[in-house]
């Protein structure tokens, strides 16, 4: 009887492993809206650069994917709590994050951009000219880290959870300048009258990678292989051209 049970459970395990290899179920989390990476179009459909890339990646991996919406604050806790399996929500690869999650190879990198009102004419790299200015950043972004490390003590740093709140304070003249992910600034600040880019974009960090749980090493291998394939066969470039006028490929 015992032998039979062991045999049965072995068979079951093999069967389970067999189906898993055929069709992997993956839940991928996005924080919306973050145009043009992930947002809802006028029909309420989830779309954007990362959403399209995720769909192409799933097809390449022959995985059955489900897209989940998760607020940024709960991203990593949600991943670790198995609410979803992958994060493809513009998560920049940093040392601190890499201690908690496993990153794929980077799949895009956008610079941080300086945006301010037309009247702003200080040089953002000149600490003397920036002294006493108020700079807005999104909390926990690589832009936040950059400003905190390079400029604390010189400028007043205000941290925001959403880009919308930050832009509202820039319009209300509570902020002199914001340092934000370039495409976000392009979509939210430059579309408004009276605002311009006020400094050279700064390339920060390694770029953005797919975040996974540390134990999911096999998934990471598949993700990396799929991303490499997409970058080579032109699928990546086609998706990129749909959303960007400039190069974000790494």
């Amino acid at each position: 009887m015992k032998k039979l049970m062991i045999a049965a459970s072995c068979a079951l395990a093999m069967f389970a492993a067999g189906t898993q290899a055929d069709e992997r179920n993956l839940r991928i989390a996005f924080d919306v809206p973050y145009e043009p990476f992930e947002y809802k179009d006028e029909n309420g459909e989830l779309t954007g650069f990362e959403v399209d890339l995720a769909a192409a990646m799933c097809e390449e991996m022959k995985a059955d994917c489900e897209f989940v919406i998760q607020a940024w604050d709960g991203m990593i806790p949600g991943l670790l709590a198995r609410k979803f399996d992958l994060i493809m929500s513009s998560m920049s690869i940093t040392e601190e994050r890499a201690e908690r999650v496993l990153f794929s190879e980077p799949y895009y990198n956008t610079p941080g951009g300086w945006f301010g009102p037309d009247s702003f004419n200080a040089d953002v790299t000149d600490m003397g000219a920036m002294k006493g200015k108020t700079v807005g950043v999104q909390r926990g972004t690589t832009m936040d880290t950059f400003v905190t490390e390079e400029m604390s003590g010189v400028v007043t740093i205000k941290r925001y959870t959403t880009a919308d709140d930050m832009v509202l304070d820039l319009e209300g003249q509570r902020l002199d300048v914001v340092f934000v992910d370039y495409p976000v600034g392009e979509q939210t600040v430059l579309t408004k009258k009276g605002f311009k880019e006020v400094g050279e974009p700064v390339k920060l960090g390694e770029g953005v990678g797919v975040a996974m749980r540390k134990r999911d090493k096999d998934v990471a291998e598949e993700v990396n292989a799929a991303l490499r394939k997409l970058k080579e066969d032109g699928t990546y470039d086609a998706i990129m051209k749909k959303y960007f006028a400039y190069d974000v490929k790494v």
Binding site: R139, R159, L168, D169
Partner: protein
């Protein structure tokens, strides 16, 4: 625990370094300032408003009723958003002297918190005033006290005794409500915790520590109010205790 044990623990700890502890401390100072100021100002305005609220003339009590109704009927977060972001959208505000006050997030937050706690405190004191036993008022009248003297000598002191327990709750709620100041870029206790969380991605460490900070503050408040109650309500204690 000996201090060198704590030093050793801080050394091998990524999150609770001297720098982050200082951030929490600065946050605690901001929280205490904000809550203390709004409670004091709120209480000062609540006493006359509560008296006006008990006046029979509806043209006097009506506006106060409307004010408490509005501020108790809407979430504090919405009030803060309206005051902080709304004011910045008024055309031309940036050129007036008001902007000096409303530019920084501290004063809009203080204003929102004060208006909110003042509304609740008004209702607490009003409740205490109208529950003054009739006998006490009649006795005061029999002694020939006028309205003002009755209020000062009889009604308000006994109302204060009845209001203190409900008011201690309001104070603790206000301390906890002040956590939402962090959404308008104020680095209070919660703001410090959110900054530290977003840097280290350690929600348990960052938030449990801040929860303990709030608990310590609450404990101090509870202790202070118990002393105050013992003092104000000592006539209610059984003989010989």
């Amino acid at each position: 625990m000996p201090p060198d044990f704590i030093a050793a623990w801080l050394n091998k700890n990524d999150i609770f370094t001297a720098m982050t502890i200082m951030e929490y401390w600065d946050g605690m100072v901001t929280t205490v300032q904000l809550v203390f100021l709004c409670l004091i100002i709120g209480l000062v305005f609540a006493v006359p408003l509560a008296i006006l609220r008990t006046v029979k003339n509806p043209f006097v009590s009506g506006p106060v009723w409307l004010y408490t109704y509005l501020f108790r009927g809407t979430p504090l977060l919405i009030q803060l958003y309206i005051i902080y972001y709304g004011v910045a959208q008024i055309p031309g505000i940036q050129e007036t002297f008001w902007w000096e006050i409303f530019r920084e997030p501290f004063y809009p937050a203080l204003l929102a918190f004060t208006l909110n706690t003042c509304a609740y405190t008004t209702e607490i004191i009003r409740g205490a005033i109208i529950s003054t036993p009739h006998g006490e008022i009649e006795a005061a009248k029999a002694y020939g006290m006028n309205w003002f003297m009755r209020m000062r000598r009889i009604v308000l002191p006994s109302a204060a005794r009845r209001a203190v327990q409900a008011y201690s709750n309001e104070v603790i709620f206000m301390l906890h409500s002040s956590a939402i100041a962090s959404v308008v870029t104020i680095v209070d206790l919660t703001g410090a915790a959110r900054n530290i969380y977003s840097r280290f991605y350690a929600p348990f460490d960052a938030f449990i520590f801040v929860a303990l900070c709030y608990m310590v503050l609450t404990f101090i408040l509870v202790f202070a109010f118990r002393k105050l109650e013992n003092h104000l309500l000592r006539h209610q204690r059984p003989v010989g205790s």
